[in-house]
């Protein structure tokens, strides 16, 4: 079993396919869970406090917007943990944790420069593409075992 980071890091389809094929998907909701279940913090909605943008300094300098650094505090540790990655080209409707394009660019860059196996895909738009999409993911994940 490998730890696989998916991009977009909030993707239901990608995390589902990774998990159903026997690997561990590294996804943002798990990091959000850590924040919102911490008892001593009350900073709705995400319990992200001004400390997160400071933690994000590990990934981006202080002249990078605070929203990028705050998001990197969530996503950066997942990249560090990742042993493989699946990256789907930005479909143009990413919001929330994946709603900042500057963060997304940095996330993709850090994944690619880490030197782990990366599978690049596009979201499918028809059945034929969907079959190739699933098949490529299956083949990639089997290759990791």
């Amino acid at each position: 079993m490998s730890k696989v980071i998916v991009y977009p890091p909030t993707s239901m389809i990608l995390s589902d396919l990774v998990e159903r094929m026997g690997h561990k998907a590294l996804v943002v909701p798990e990091r959000v869970r850590e924040l919102v279940t911490a008892n001593d913090v009350q900073s709705p909605p995400l319990n992200v406090t001004p400390e997160e943008p400071k933690k994000g300094l590990r990934y981006a300098a202080v002249d990078v917007p605070s929203g990028v650094r705050g998001r990197m505090a969530l996503i950066g540790p997942l990249i560090e943990e990742a042993e493989a990655a699946i990256i789907v080209e930005d479909p143009g409707w990413l919001t929330g944790c994946a709603g900042c394009s500057r963060t997304n660019e940095l996330v993709r860059l850090l994944i690619r420069t880490k030197g782990i196996p990366v599978l690049d895909l596009n979201y499918p738009t028809d059945d034929a593409q969907a079959k190739v999409f699933v098949q490529k993911i299956r083949a990639f994940l089997e290759g990791l075992k």
């Binding site: 009350q42 900073s43 709705p44 909605p45 995400l46 992200v48 406090t49 001004p50 400390e51 997160e52 943008p53 400071k54 002249d63 990078v64 917007p65 605070s66 929203g67 990028v68 650094r69 705050g70 998001r71 969530l74 930005d90 143009g92 409707w93 990413l94 919001t95 929330g96 944790c97 994946a98 709603g99 900042c100 394009s101 500057r102």
Partner: protein
């Protein structure tokens, strides 16, 4: 309950969402998020005019479209994005313009960092809520009866006495101890007006020390500077109807306010850099060995282009001025360079955030330093008005507004 629609990107991830909500709560408002569909977001290029790479900015634009189509959804709007994000800066400004052009809903635009606190946002939110809550009061054009205004500023405290639409007494003291300075300025204004304190029907208070002073003297009106200064500026400039732009470069912060019929429609408040404040001009005057009241006249004789300014900073900028003097630059050129530096920074960092429409009115003590409005005129390519009593703007606005409460 006033509903403030939040159109933003990055606030949740900067850890400041709680601060935004806390500031709103303090001024009796609630933050709301207009409902939009996925289709609204996907069609944002068609409906707003552009689609950008960041989805949360597209969401903010889709929400702006929804508000313009359904103005009943919100009473006011705040547009907030991360400081230093170019993509967001463009969209923030366009959302502000979009709402300003297509609705009567007041808009506040702000760029935040993780250090932004509820306290930073409070005056801005208070002004936003005031423009919604007291529209009738803000529409008042004449001062009636005998009223007083006190502006407890960070650097100076000002007071005026007004009777039947005329300023009949003024007082001005440097702010030391807040309450004592307020009393001194107030007493001076009373003395000049030749009236007794007991005759005054109501007092309005504004400025940094407004809560403390207001409570102490039992003021009828305690109000932030944005709405009060807008009112004072258009009153003194006889520009109460139609559009106007008010620029107030203060001791600790600067305000740029876009006014329509005497009511602020959009505004920005900057307040981190001393290089864009009256303090910078004070230091320059001291270095040149002239009184601050003479700096402006000296500057009018100079040309800023003869001085190489490498920085807007109060430390490094002043160093540039000192270097220029040692290299033989004329004091008048240095004086104008200082005025230009302050004006240019306000122009670059704040006036881009509001609609600059004529008349442009400069107020506050710094507006009397003649080089400063001149520098602003050169940057904006429009005539800049400095009304009589411009330094008492907050006190005049407070005295005018509080007279509106006498009838209620």
């Amino acid at each position: 309950m006033i509903r403030i629609a939040q159109l933003s990107c990055g606030s949740e991830y900067s850890g400041i969402q709680k601060e935004i909500e806390r500031a709103a709560e303090t001024v009796g408002a609630k933050i709301v998020y207009p409902e939009v569909s996925l289709e609204d977001i996907l069609n944002v290029e068609k409906n707003f005019g552009v689609k950008v790479a960041s989805g949360d900015l597209n969401l903010a634009m889709a929400r702006a479209v929804r508000i313009v189509e359904n103005p009943d959804l919100a009473d006011a709007v705040i547009v907030m994005t991360c400081f230093r994000c170019a993509e967001a800066a463009i969209i923030r400004s366009e959302i502000r313009k979009f709402i300003h052009e297509h609705s009567r809903i007041p808009v506040l635009s702000y760029s935040f960092t993780e250090r932004t606190t509820a306290e930073t946002l409070l005056t801005r939110m208070e002004a936003l809520v005031t423009t919604v809550k007291y529209r009738g009061l803000l529409a008042r054009e004449r001062q009636k009866g005998l009223t007083a205004g006190i502006d407890s500023g960070s650097t100076t405290t000002k007071s005026v006495i007004m009777r039947d639409n005329e300023v009949i007494g003024t007082g001005w003291v440097p702010t030391t101890e807040v309450l004592k300075s307020a009393e001194d300025a107030f007493d001076a204004a009373i003395k000049m007006a030749g009236i007794k304190k007991e005759e005054i029907q109501a007092v309005g208070v504004t400025g940094y020390g407004r809560f403390l002073v207001g409570k102490h003297i039992n003021a009828r009106l305690i109000q932030e500077e944005i709405t009060v200064n807008s009112k004072g500026a258009v009153f003194l400039s006889d520009a109460q109807r139609g559009p106007a732009t008010v620029i107030d470069i203060g001791g600790m912060d600067n305000k740029a306010i876009s006014v329509q019929d005497g009511i602020p429609g959009g505004f920005t408040m900057g307040g981190i850099c001393a290089g864009a404040s009256g303090r910078f001009l004070e230091l320059t005057a001291r270095r040149l060995g002239v009184d601050i009241t003479q700096l402006g006249k000296l500057a009018l004789k100079g040309d800023f282009r003869n001085v190489a300014m490498n920085s807007y900073c109060i430390v490094f900028g002043t160093q540039s001025l000192v270097n220029s003097l040692s290299m033989g630059c004329k004091p008048e050129d240095v004086a104008m360079a200082a005025c230009h530096s302050v004006a240019e920074q306000v122009y670059e960092q704040q006036l881009q955030e509001v609609e600059v429409k004529e008349p442009v009115i400069m107020v506050g003590g710094t507006s009397l330093i003649e080089g400063l409005p001149r520098a602003m005129e050169e940057l904006l390519h429009v005539k800049v008005l400095v009304p009589k009593n411009a330094q008492y703007i907050g006190a005049v606005g407070a005295a005018l507004l509080v007279s509106g409460l006498l009838e209620g």
